[in-house]
C-alpha cells in the first residue's frame, strides 16, 4: 500500500511539474508555431490530470475541445496571419515577423508585473492550504436527487437537469461567438486546400467512425462518462477534418438548412424552458417521470448545434459567402 501511494505521488508530481513546465515553454518559447504545438501538448497532459482527478467527463471534453479544436483553431489562425504578411510583402522579411512574435513590453515592466503576480500566487497558495482537507460540497445533494433526474451519470444530471440553465446559456454563448465572427466579415482563407490522397482517405475512413463515436458518446452520457458536449465536439471534429480535406458545405445547404442546424439546440432549449415555465411554474424544472425523455431530446439537438457551430467557428467565414469573393 505504501509503495503504491508513493508511485501515485510520483505520477501526480510528474504531471504537475510537466504541466507547469509545458505552460512556461508554451508561453515564453521564441517561436510562435512551437508555442502553439506546446500548448496542444499541454492540453493532452491536462487530460491526464483530469483522469487523475477522477473527472473522466472533463477529460473527454478537454481532449476533444481544449487540446483538439483549440489547437486546430490556433494553428489555422497562425497560418492565416502568416499568409496576410506574405500577401502584403511586408512579411517577406522573416526576421521582422519573428521579432514581432517575440516582442514583449519593456524589461522594467517585466519586474513591475512579476511582483504583484508573485504576491498573488503566494496569497492564493496560502488560501488553498488553509482550506479544510475534506469537503463534500454538493455531491451528497446530487446523489440524493439522482433518481429524480432521469439519468444516472451525476455530471450529466447536473449539466442537463439541476443546472440546465448553465447549459442553455452556454449554447447561447457558442452561438454568439459564431455570430460575432460572421459579422467581422473576414476574408475566407485564400489558400487552396491541399488535395492529398492520404488526407482524403483518412477523412473518408474517419468521418463515419467519428459519427458512430459521437452517437455512442451521446447515448452513453446518460449513465457513464460522455454527453452532449463531448458528442458534439467529436462531431464538430469530423467537420473540421472534412474542411481540412477540402470539402465544403454545398451551397444549397449553406443557407437556411445550416442556420436551422446552428440554432436548433438553443431554440429547443428555450422552447422546453418556456413549456416547463407554463406547466410547472419553474424554469427548466423537469417532471421526474419525463426527465429522461426531455434530456434525451435536449442532448440530441444540442449535439447537432454544438457540432455545427464548432465546425463553423473553425471555418471562420460564412460558408455561403465564400464563393462570391
Amino acid at each position: 500500500m505504501e509503495a503504491l501511494s508513493l508511485l501515485q505521488w510520483l505520477i501526480d508530481g510528474l504531471i504537475g511539474i510537466g504541466l507547469l513546465w509545458l505552460a512556461w515553454r508554451a508561453l515564453f518559447c521564441p517561436e510562435l508555431f512551437k508555442a502553439i504545438v506546446l500548448f496542444i501538448a499541454f492540453g493532452l497532459l491536462m487530460t491526464l490530470a483530469w483522469v487523475r482527478l477522477k473527472a473522466p467527463d472533463v477529460a473527454l471534453a478537454e481532449v476533444a475541445i481544449g487540446a483538439g479544436l483549440t489547437g486546430a483553431l490556433l494553428l489555422s489562425s497562425w497560418a492565416k496571419l502568416r499568409d496576410f504578411d506574405a500577401n502584403k510583402g511586408m512579411g517577406v522579411r522573416e526576421k521582422n515577423r519573428v521579432q514581432s512574435e517575440q516582442k514583449t513590453k519593456r524589461p522594467f515592466f517585466h519586474w513591475l508585473s512579476a511582483t504583484p503576480v508573485l504576491l498573488m500566487a503566494v496569497g492564493l497558495g496560502y488560501g488553498v492550504l488553509q482550506l479544510s482537507p475534506y469537503a463534500t460540497g454538493l455531491s451528497t445533494a446530487v446523489a440524493e436527487n439522482l433518481d429524480a433526474s432521469g439519468v444516472s451519470n451525476p455530471v450529466t444530471a447536473v449539466l442537463l437537469n439541476f443546472r440546465a440553465y448553465d447549459t442553455l446559456l452556454e449554447i447561447a454563448v457558442l452561438l454568439l461567438a459564431l455570430i460575432g465572427i460572421w459579422s467581422l466579415e473576414i476574408r475566407p482563407s485564400v489558400r487552396e486546400a491541399t488535395l492529398d490522397p492520404v488526407l482524403d482517405l483518412l477523412a473518408r475512413l474517419l468521418t463515419p467512425l467519428l459519427l458512430l463515436v459521437s452517437a455512442y458518446l451521446l447515448w452513453v452520457g446518460a449513465h457513464a462518462s460522455g454527453g452532449a458536449f463531448q458528442a458534439g465536439s467529436v462531431l464538430g471534429a469530423a467537420g473540421v477534418l472534412l474542411i481540412l480535406a477540402g470539402w465544403r458545405l454545398p451551397l444549397s445547404l449553406a443557407g437556411l438548412p445550416l442556420r436551422i442546424t446552428l440554432v436548433v439546440g438553443l431554440s429547443t432549449f428555450i422552447a422546453v424552458a418556456v413549456l416547463m415555465m407554463l406547466d410547472r411554474g419553474q424554469l427548466l424544472a423537469f417532471p421526474p417521470s419525463q426527465a429522461s425523455l426531455i434530456i434525451f431530446v435536449l442532448e440530441t439537438t444540442a449535439t447537432l448545434s454544438i457540432a455545427a457551430i464548432l465546425a463553423a467557428l473553425f471555418l471562420g467565414s460564412r460558408p455561403d459567402h465564400s464563393e462570391k469573393i
Binding site: 504541466l19 505552460a23 477522477k54 467527463d57 503576480v117 482537507p133 454538493l138 454563448v173 461567438a177 457551430i309
Partner: protein
C-alpha cells in the same frame, strides 16, 4: 498535503504564469494562449478542490468546468477572429500602445 492540494497549487501556478505572460507579451496570439492557460489553471483549482471527498468527487464543479471549456473555446475562436481582423486592418497583430505613438 493531499493530491487535491497538489493539483490546486499547480492550478494556481498555471493561472499566475498565464497572468504574467498576458501582461508582458505584445503579440495578440500569445495573449490568447496566455488566457487559455489561465483558464486551465482555474479549471484545475476547481476540480482539484472538488476531489476533497471520500466518496465520489463533487459533480457540480465538473459540470461547470465542462461548460467552462466550451465557453473558453468559443471565446478563443472569437478572439482569434478579432486578431485576424486587427492584423488585416493595421498590418500588425498587436494593439497600439500609447507609448508608441
Amino acid at each position: 498535503m493531499s493530491i487535491a492540494v497538489l493539483y490546486a497549487l499547480v492550478g494556481i501556478g498555471l493561472f499566475c504564469l498565464g497572468v504574467y505572460a498576458l501582461m508582458i507579451h505584445a503579440h495578440l496570439l500569445r495573449k490568447i494562449l496566455a488566457l487559455n492557460i489561465m483558464g486551465s489553471g482555474v479549471f484545475m483549482v476547481l476540480l482539484a478542490l472538488a476531489g476533497r471527498t471520500e466518496i465520489m468527487p463533487d459533480p457540480v464543479p465538473a459540470a461547470m468546468v465542462i461548460t467552462g471549456i466550451v465557453v473558453a473555446v468559443s471565446a478563443t475562436a472569437f478572439a482569434l477572429a478579432l486578431m485576424l481582423k486587427i492584423s488585416a486592418v493595421t498590418g500588425r497583430a498587436e494593439l497600439n500602445d500609447e507609448e508608441e505613438k
